[in-house]
């Protein structure tokens, strides 16, 4: 049985629908990541799941019981959960008391409070800060205290809203490491919202993609990243080559998709005559100076029409009759003499492609 379940949940603020028809079920011990662009409704959904808000429509079940509209039951449920907000605030007291709050509100004995707070502070590496005024901490330290504050009550469900969004890479790494440790050690059910899809991929067993207030797709990280079910999801998860085509021929699962008059070989479930999008991840494309003798079914010659250096990588856009964007290392680009206007070859495997239905 699902620990948390939403049934056709919708939320409206001032007549504007923020979430629509969300039906989701999260099992005990599961790590579920909600990914989606900013403003997609991730925080609202987390707040609804934590019973901090009441949905405009639909029902939310915790442990099999609909407690959407009972204040007493909601408080009881909330006390089995914890929430780390995107921009955590510290209460104007020292670090120890900040972390102890949740336990004191649950009327735990002071000896238990002391030992649990100390353990939680140790876990996040903030034990030396116990007597510091919590409002004088840096962003990363505040985040770690917020995590300790959330973990100290040993919640059954932990909600994390963009847990590392406001941190520098080093602090973000430490926070993520702590979270990964907790997830592994305590088998806590975790629901996290993140716009950083790779973080979702690293920490979560299952991912839900929320775009424009609607849950577009849920599935394993591999399903989400390699087999998105809609153009919107594909765009969000970084599939930068989305080509409109039509299935011209089909041989078992191997389809020939006509894109701008070019034939692309792809594994597809669709039938001849279906209009589709062909999705190609940039990292699945190999650029070579000469025609590659590899096993790739798709090899196209094209001219480099754009090159952008991003850190150690170069994003290369090639016109093969259709635009194709790929990535090579900066060193490889230099060694292979890739420059603007140069004719090169792009190759990719039929199995690396994914097709989705294109309507209209």
């Amino acid at each position: 049985m699902a620990l948390l379940e939403t049934r056709n949940v919708g939320q409206t603020y001032d007549g504007k629908a923020v979430l629509q028809d969300i039906s989701l079920s999260i099992g005990s011990g599961e790590v579920f990541a909600l990914i989606g662009p900013t403003g997609a409704g991730k925080t609202t959904l987390l707040r609804l799941l934590d019973f901090l808000e009441t949905p405009s429509t639909g029902a939310i079940l915790f442990d099999g019981t609909d407690i959407t509209r009972s204040n007493k039951l909601r408080l009881g449920a909330r006390r089995r959960m914890s929430f780390v907000q995107q921009k955590p605030v510290s209460f104007s007291m020292n670090v120890f008391d900040n972390v102890a709050c949740g336990l004191r509100w649950r009327r735990q004995k002071s000896s238990a409070v002391r030992s649990k707070v100390e353990t939680a502070l140790e876990l996040v590496g903030m034990a030396d800060y116990r007597n510091r005024d919590a409002r004088t901490l840096s962003g990363g330290e505040t985040q770690r205290v917020a995590i300790a504050r959330a973990l100290v009550t040993q919640p059954e469900v932990l909600f994390l809203d963009e847990p590392t969004a406001n941190l520098d890479p080093v602090s973000a790494g430490k926070v993520e490491e702590t979270l990964a440790h907790v997830i592994q050690e305590h088998r806590t059910t975790v629901v996290m919202a993140t716009h950083d899809m790779t973080q979702g991929q690293r920490l979560a067993g299952r991912i839900g993609v929320l775009i424009g207030g609607a849950l577009q797709q849920t599935g394993s990280p591999t399903e989400i990243f390699c087999a998105p079910q809609s153009k919107e999801v594909a765009e969000f998860v970084g599939v930068e080559n989305i080509l409109s085509g039509i299935i011209a021929a089909k041989d078992d699962t191997l389809a020939t998709v006509e894109v701008n008059g070019r034939a692309i070989q792809a594994i597809s479930d669709f039938a001849t005559g279906d209009t589709v999008y062909v999705l190609i991840r940039p990292e699945d494309i190999i650029f070579t100076k000469a025609r590659d003798s590899s096993s790739a079914r798709n090899v196209f010659e094209g001219e480099i029409i754009r090159m952008n250096t991003v850190g150690p990588l170069v994003r290369i856009e090639v016109d093969c009759g259709f635009p194709l964007l790929g990535i090579v290392t900066k060193r490889a680009a230099e060694e292979l003499g890739f420059v603007f206007g140069k004719k090169i070859f792009a190759s990719f495997k039929a199995t690396a492609l994914h097709t989705i239905k294109r309507w209209g």
Partner: protein, 229 residues
Amino acid sequence: MEEIWNGFVKAIQLIVTLDPVVMEITGRSLAIAAASCLLASLVCIPLGSLIHFNRFPGKRGLVNVIQTLYSVPTVVIGLLIFLLFSRAGPLGDMGLLFTPTVMVIGQAVLIAPILVGLTITALSGVDNAIPETASALGADGIQAAVLTMREARFGMLTAIVMGFGRAISEVGLALMVGGNIAGFTRVLTTAIALESSKGDIELSIALGIILIAVALIINIALNRLQQRK
């Protein structure tokens, strides 16, 4: 000019030698203002919190009325209290008119809007994320409210200090319901008014200096509180 200067010198002497009359009037002033402040705080801080934490129609209008009453003339409250506690008034049987008790009640009523209003302002100044976070960490409504009040404690202290300042410095109400009875209801402000009209300039100046010193201490306390916020 010389008369004023001599008055000033004698006033300093009265203060330095801890003149019994000066000390007695000062002590009573502080005691009445403190008692009225305590009484008003006990009622107004919970009342202000109740208004802040609850949603009801007309809330904004009520807050506007409360803020308008900050500067209600002291004589208007004086008249109201006088009518309530005068022999013919509804509370006349209590026989409290011209006693320190009625002065405490009157001053508490006078500063009530300041305390209620500034309590609401202090609580409104607390980041919404504080009660939200408390709820998310398992606090019930009352626990979240108590935490919010704790966060607003310096703002609330400011309200109390400002209420004390208004109570100790007002004269109209103290005169009307206290009666300026020597050794009984005479306070700093009423004594200054009376002694000046009698021509006892030294005592007036001495009491004035004390009143200004009290105002200065209040101001310093307020500044400190503002900084700690």
